[in-house]
């Protein structure tokens, strides 16, 4: 037994423990902390924020023109999380926008902004409607301006020539008439061998270095009307200013294109949400893996996170499970083909193992949609359809019933379910 029964408890005791530090867990913890609850967010590690583009994929099923329509389409699917929480989407997105705005992280676009194709780092197109301000110019209508993709010499996670070639070959309705690319040698980088998105972003935070870099970028822009796409590495702490500086120095609108992981826009999003939780008096601890649970009938009394030589006991009135699905490792496969939910051992309906495999790698994977079944208040349900734990809520991609990659609904479901859970717990606290 690697974890002795001896445990240690922090003080003060939390009202709510949120488990998981993806978008859902962070947003829920922020809202709870803002409402005055004592919140402790415990996460096994940093997660999906660092792999994503930092904007909001609310809902873009085939044929939907706007996120709002997308939500309506998905809410009509029996068993889809939106069938439960679609009414929260408006409030959740606006709360998220306001929360990020307070820490200087602006989102452009709304639920009624049409899904607009914007370029990815590989030169494919993805539909987007709500974007961080530094990416927003990608979705503005194209007129006479051409697209100039800029890469940085030595940076291996963005290949503008490759992306430009791919973009030239795809059908891009309403896209730019000209696509060009350029490679910029940034000052001092020829001596560096280990450039990644984060190390470049750290450099862009340095005002003096940035001023030199802007000169090099400006010189790489040929004459004419351009809109510039750059790898999303324009600063972490000082990102708003770095982006504005690029536009000012070149005289063109510029937008960031998220590179391969690590995603700098995702890092900024994580930092911003963590900041808002701390500013509201909440606690955020990463590296706190839940390894044990104390139950009393239909209530969870405490969870224990792994600590050196013992466990840390986190007792609370309520618990929010935001650990993700198969992709986020909240749900794991067993050698016999069954699945288990990692924290509370909640029942997970698994498709038969034979159905895990398909000849077409691009069809939605059946395991993507596995998750926890919930009631309207997001209580987890047992196999008989009864509430398994009355003081637990399940949010984000731990919820069953969505193909979040194909439907592009992961962020919207995360925010809407986080909002529902926070409101449901607040009501419960008032009643108590």
């Amino acid at each position: 037994m690697p974890f002795p029964m001896r445990s240690f408890e922090t003080m003060p005791r939390a009202d709510v423990v949120v488990i998981g530090a993806g978008l859902a867990g962070l947003a829920c913890a922020a809202e709870l902390a803002e409402s005055g609850a004592r919140v402790f967010l415990a996460a096994k590690g940093m997660a999906t924020t660092h792999w994503t583009h930092g904007g909001l994929d609310v809902a873009a099923p085939a044929g939907s023109l706007t996120p709002r329509v997308g939500v309506r389409v998905l809410a009509a699917e029996a068993g889809h999380p939106y069938a439960r929480v679609h009414a929260e989407v408006d409030g959740a997105v606006e709360a998220h926008r306001a929360r990020l705005g307070r820490v200087g992280h602006l989102l452009v676009g709304s639920l009624d902004s049409p899904h607009t194709p914007i370029p990815t780092a590989l030169g494919s197109l993805r539909p987007a409607s709500i974007l961080p301000s530094a990416q927003a110019a990608a979705a503005a209508p194209w007129a006479d301006d051409g697209l100039l993709l800029i890469g940085f010499a030595g940076f291996r996670d963005a290949w503008p020539a490759y992306a430009a070639r791919n973009l030239g070959a795809v059908e891009w309705p309403g896209g730019p008439r000209r696509i060009s690319h350029a490679e910029v040698v940034l000052p001092g980088l020829e001596r560096l061998k280990n450039l990644n998105a984060r190390s470049l972003a750290v450099l862009f935070d340095d005002g003096a270095w940035r001023a030199e870099a802007l000169g090099a970028i400006r010189r790489a822009v040929p004459p004419g009307a351009w809109r510039i796409g750059l790898p999303a590495v324009l600063g972490i702490a000082d990102h708003a200013r770095a982006h504005a500086d690029v536009e000012e120095a070149t005289g063109h609108r510029a937008f960031e294109i998220p590179s391969l992981p690590p995603s700098v826009p995702g890092v900024r999003l994580f930092d911003a949400l963590r900041r808002t939780i701390l500013d509201s008096g909440g606690r955020v601890q990463v590296g706190f893996d839940v390894v044990d649970v104390e139950r009393n009938g239909q209530r969870i009394v405490a969870v224990h996170t792994e600590a050196a030589a013992r466990t840390l006991r986190l007792a609370a009135d309520a618990f929010v499970l935001a650990t993700g699905g198969i992709g986020g490792t909240g749900i794991r496969g067993n050698p016999d083909g069954s699945l288990h939910e990692r924290v509370f051992g909640l029942p997970v309906e698994a498709p038969p193992r034979a159905a895990w495999f398909s000849d077409d790698p691009l069809t939605p994977h059946p395991l993507e949609s596995v998750g926890i079944r919930v009631d309207a208040e997001l209580h987890p349900l047992d196999p008989a359809g009864q509430v398994a734990y009355e003081n637990v809520r399940v949010i984000g991609s731990a919820l069953a019933g969505m193909h979040y990659l194909e439907q592009r609904c992961g962020d919207g479901v995360a925010l809407a379910s986080a909002h529902r859970a926070a409101r449901s717990l607040a009501t419960e606290r008032l009643a108590a």
Partner: protein
């Protein structure tokens, strides 16, 4: 719990197969934040591990793993549960086993030896040497110890000699109540450099009704572990385990004031040195950080909370080794009990010192750059002092920010004494 979860702490290298190459670790590493010479935890950890062979074959495709400071932030950030820092540490040890170690690394790791040489009535002389610019310059040229590396002055008397003079117990007195008796693990920093911290710790423990015993002990061995000198570290570890195991099994808690030493006893003997027998596990399970213990007492309603006011701002830096305990920031909880104290968490990843890392001539600048935002925050706070639980971090913050930096226990002891003074009484200190 899955097989994978259970296996990793005993076999850190197994965990590297769980890496999904997501790069999260590369976004949090403080060393790769400031130097391009370190490729980042993913590359020197799980990535390079695939190319490391058994003894006799090339142990590493790239020796840049030696630039890892061992802060452990990558391990805690990893969503897949890979023990990255532990993997790096073992990789360094394998390189050292093959290629040997420098005299410098052997010297700065052997704290017990240094204290025997320096902490005695001749300490003022040794300290004169540490303060002498020409001697430090020579030290940098000859030994590779940076002339501005943060070294604390030797104490004239060790904590051990104070304890002997005080006739403090070195073994459990007959009939002792294990639940009310604490085994104090002072570590080499308290012994040779900061004995006052040890006295404050003893005072606080006694004030809270514990009997304190200080059995024979050596350096925990962490400096050897950090420098890849595992055989030397195992000798230290085995000496401590054999001195402490029986007490641990009898239910005595082992409490330390250095989050580095206590983490070595709790985790690193097992994760790095493969010391996982019953004795080692008993010692690990019995070991507590002192702030962790005091918060635990408070949760049980047993902590003396008659604390006097200290009305001042206090920047507090939770050291990396504390974070690896997985217990949050118990010092912040204790600070909240001190009237008037306005403690603020530094919210900075690492001070850079990482034990002996920041002393090395070729690492000093990296360590300074890692800690620079922290030093600026501490200075900008306008506070008269700062707090931190680990000794080498304290010395680094103090030297580089110019702000005196103390252990949280020093603040707490002062607050207790303030309460005594306000009530017109004194805590009887046995000298």
């Amino acid at each position: 719990m899955t097989f994978h979860d259970a296996a990793t702490r005993d076999f850190p290298l197994f965990s590297t197969d769980a890496c999904i190459k997501c790069n999260v670790c590369n976004t949090v590493c403080p060393v790769s934040r400031v130097t391009d010479a370190f490729p980042g935890p993913k590359y020197v950890g799980p990535q390079a591990q695939r190319f490391r062979g058994p003894s006799g074959s090339p142990r590493s495709p790239d020796h840049s793993v030696d630039l890892c400071s061992g802060c452990g932030i990558c391990t805690r950030a990893c969503p897949a549960g890979v023990l990255i820092a532990e993997t790096n540490n073992r990789a360094r040890a394998a390189i050292v086993a093959d290629r040997g170690s420098s005299i410098r690394n052997r010297l700065i790791s052997d704290t017990d030896l240094l204290i025997r040489l320096g902490s005695n009535p001749l300490a003022p002389l040794a300290n004169l040497g540490l303060r002498s610019r020409p001697l430090r310059w020579i030290g940098e040229r000859v030994l590779g110890i940076h002339r501005r590396g943060p070294l604390a002055p030797f104490s004239r008397r060790t904590f051990g000699s104070w304890w002997r003079k005080r006739r403090g117990a070195t073994a459990a007195p007959p009939g002792a109540d294990a639940a009310r008796t604490i085994v104090y693990f002072h570590g080499c920093a308290v012994n040779g450099f900061e004995p006052d911290l040890g006295r404050d710790a003893v005072e606080i423990l006694e004030r809270n009704g514990f009997t304190v015993i200080v059995p024979r002990q050596e350096c925990c061995g962490l400096p050897f572990i950090s420098n890849g000198l595992y055989e030397n570290a195992r000798r230290k570890a085995r000496a401590n385990i054999s001195s402490l195991a029986e007490l641990a099994r009898a239910g005595y808690r082992i409490v330390g004031t250095s989050t580095s030493c206590t983490h070595a006893l709790k985790a690193e003997y097992r994760e790095m040195l493969d010391l996982a027998d019953d004795d080692a596990r008993a010692v690990a399970d019995a070991t507590w950080d002192i702030c962790e213990l005091l918060v635990d007492l408070h949760d049980r309603g047993e902590l003396d909370v008659e604390l006097g006011p200290i009305a001042e701002p206090l920047p507090y830096h939770p050291p990396c080794q504390l974070k690896s305990h997985g217990i949050g920031t118990p010092a912040m909880d204790l600070f909240a009990l001190v009237p008037g104290l306005r403690a603020v968490d530094s919210d900075h990843d690492c001070c850079g010192a990482a034990g002996t890392y920041g002393l090395k001539a070729e690492r000093w600048q990296i360590a300074q750059d890692v800690g620079a935002p922290l030093f600026a925050k501490v200075r900008a706070s306008g506070a008269a002092r700062a707090a931190c639980d680990s000794e080498t971090c304290r010395w680094q913050i103090e030297q580089s920010s110019g702000v005196p930096t103390v252990h949280p226990i020093t603040i707490l002891a002062e607050s207790y004494r303030r309460a005594d003074a306000d009530r017109g009484r004194t805590w009887r200190r046995v000298v």
